[in-house]
Symmetry: C2
Subunit: 188 residues, 2 copies
DNA sequence: GTCTATACTATGATAGAC
DNA sequence: GTCTATCATAGTATAGAC
């Protein structure tokens, strides 16, 4: 049996993903976690503290998932393409990126910190892979790893936005393929 | 003197931008617009109807602003770079893109429609400029206008996400410059 | 650790007077 | 067109019993 604390965190992750921080009430969390009022407030001081735990968990999951492709086998280009093209729940959006739209998350340093750290890590990890591609001669020496990394991360985050706007995964896929077209290809 | 209806719409635009649909209450709108309860409900059936008017207005503003650069003078590359690099309130995010994080906006066809139309228009407009660049020989014939347009729009939307996460405009600027680096340059 | 009771505010709206 | 009641529900907790 999963512990109450664990169920509370997981339910909060799910609700933050779907409805954001402002749109998620303690009552909804309790219902989803099948936990009582008293139980929730016994384990967490309030909504913010629980959200912090949930956001940290989501950030860790995002990093782990990204590292599957980025730290895998293959050339830099293959790993980046693999990361870009991996299966995603596009219409749900990014569980971490989504929180940047939430004014109360951005305003509270405790809540924004795990979001900031997650994307700082992702950009750093992508930059490493790009730099590696430069070392192996796959990418031209003129390519800037930090810039390119930010562009790659932005295409994914923006792809989610365009897909949700359209109610279709198509714009996401177009944006990703457009980026892959633009990235330098190793001369065969 | 600006009319009440106008003040209500403008205040709603501003609040939707800052706090989203879920985070914006009728009371907050009335306060911002300096309009009474009765006044607001006299002009609009409720929060959703007012939000629809505000979102349509914001969409129109986004289109007009984009067309300043995209429909201006210069080569395709210059106009796209001009659009990407124009002055923006990066840390506030995109007033239209922001709404895609709002579950109630995405769930209501009346509210999602203006968001969908705005980005469909933007991608189409960008694709036209890319196609024009192909015709003039500035861009290679292999470049896909729809994909490239989606990538450009995504970099901006994702750039906002990364910037708000970081609490700094830097990731936005890196992502934009990274994209400009990747876009084909006319052979001099 | 969990439950129920209680509290106080905000939300989103309607009704009827002016 | 605008104002002031009024209302039912939800949000976000705290207190104290079990």
């Amino acid at each position: 049996m999963v512990e109450t604390v664990e169920r509370l965190i997981r339910s909060t992750q799910e609700l933050l993903w779907e409805r954001g921080y402002v749109g998620t009430s303690p009552k909804a969390i309790q219902r989803a976690a099948d936990a009582g009022q008293g139980s929730m407030y016994h384990h967490f001081a309030g909504k913010a503290e629980l959200a912090k735990a949930a956001i940290e968990r989501s950030g860790a999951e995002l990093r782990a998932a990204a590292d599957v492709q980025l730290g895998g086998d293959g050339t830099a280009g293959e790993r980046i393409a693999g990361y870009l093209e991996r299966e995603r729940e596009v219409l749900k959006g990014c569980q971490v990126g989504r929180l940047t739209a939430d004014p109360d998350v951005i305003a509270d340093p405790d809540l924004r910190a795990p979001v900031a750290e997650t994307f700082a890590w992702l950009r750093g990890r992508l930059a490493e892979v790009v730099a590696e591609g430069k070392r192996t001669g796959e990418y031209p020496q003129t390519l800037d790893p930090e810039r390119t990394a930010a562009t790659i991360a932005a295409v994914l985050q923006g792809g989610y936005v365009l897909a949700r706007a359209a109610g279709s995964t198509e714009p996401f896929e177009l944006a990703v393929q457009g980026l892959i077209d633009l990235l330098p290809e190793a001369t065969k």
